[in-house]
């Protein structure tokens, strides 16, 4: 018995679909949501969001946000959300390096915090992107390495 999942960001609707289960990076830990979950409001942290539909898993990278769970309906208000195969790995890698660079420079506390957040986001995107690629290796036109 699936439930409705909506993922929206400030810039667009990322997904609106009937799904069977989702696994989300909640502020209080990773959690799985099945249909008929009790009402829940939680903030999300940067991490991997898995959507399971008909036994098939689709990974997303999100960089924080909120989730409202109602028995038949789940809304994720994400800061950013990207499906694994949408992620540009080269750009994520570049962002990671930039963030690391910034951390090394260690200027003010505020900038440090910002760089840390950027780094975390980049790492999440990278790991999610790799996850997808691991699934279907050796496609034509890779050429990233």
């Amino acid at each position: 018995m699936p439930f409705r999942l909506e993922i929206v960001t400030a810039e667009r609707i990322v997904l609106s679909d009937e799904v069977d289960q989702i696994n989300v990076p909640g502020a209080a830990g990773r959690m799985g949501i099945l249909p008929r979950h009790e009402p829940l409001l939680t903030s999300l942290i940067p991490g991997e969001l898995d959507i399971i539909k008909n036994g098939e898993r689709t990974p997303f990278a999100i960089s924080g946000g909120f989730m409202e769970v109602l028995p038949e309906h789940v809304t994720i208000l994400a800061d950013t959300a990207e499906r694994a195969d949408e992620i540009d790995e080269a750009r994520a890698e570049a962002a990671r390096r930039r963030a690391e660079e910034l951390m090394r420079e260690r200027r003010s506390d505020q900038e440090m915090l910002l760089a840390e957040a950027q780094l975390r986001r980049a790492m999440v995107r990278l790991s999610v992107a790799r996850l997808k690629r691991g699934g279907r290796r050796a496609g034509p036109g890779g050429g990233l390495e």
Partner: protein
Amino acid sequence: MGLIYQTHTRRRDTRPYFLPLLAFRARKSMASLREIRRRVRSVKNVAKITKAMEMVSASKMRRAQRNTQATRPYAERMRTVMGELTTRAGQQLAHPLLTQRADVRRIGLVIVTPDKGLCGALVTNVLRTASRFVLEQRRLGREVEVLTVGKKGRDFAVRTHLPLVAEITGLGDSPKLIDVLSVATNVINGFSEGRYDEVFVVFTAFVNTLSQKPERRRLLPIEPPAQPTGGARVDYTYEPGQGEVLNALLPRFVEVQLYQTILESIASEHSARMAAMRNATDNAKELVRDLTLSANKARQAAITKELAEISAGSLR
């Protein structure tokens, strides 16, 4: 015998005051044929430019409209969540950002304007609304500090000596949420620290392509949207806790609201510019018609004069 030209009179009040090139009026004295032809050429060129600007604005407007619509679901879902939250949590819901202060003394005002002009009365309208609001608040003995988005608003604040505490310019046509965070963070912190007791935003609401209207909206304290109550409901489970979730959710709500007003202002700007440029093109075309008529009359007059001279000569 001189031929008196009809002078060009103002036909419409919609003449674009902002295009001085078009404010041309034929002189009372007899303009030479060559001079009139030159005017025709120059006005035609202006018409080409305004036509091009109209088309550019039309395409930018379509994109801006799409952007505005794309943000709506997020803002709406957030409002639903907030409404759900207020009905479920009821009286227990308390947060500094939701609390109305008893004594309002300081106001933060965000003014959203375009960077560029040439969009009819849009800038004037927003700034008039802003000025009126500032004067009103001052009469109530309140201090107003201004934050601006867009160059026109910044210039206005500087010109009128309003205390300007923050500004963003050069946002472009499709800003991301992150681009406007600085202003949002500024007012949220200002409100939390007691620098402001209330925060408002003045922007141009996009009604439709033909109509845009300056509007004032309160950002802080947040008025939780009323939700049709379907009887008593169970409260949410909050993770990590209600306070933490609200601490994260409410600022985001303010950010998104501000973001939306900015996107709407951008869509309004391009619509207004498109209309202004269409008017300008129409007026230019009308001028071309009038000037061409004058040119033809001048040509005729010259021919008549020459003929008269010739026939006068042959009579002798």
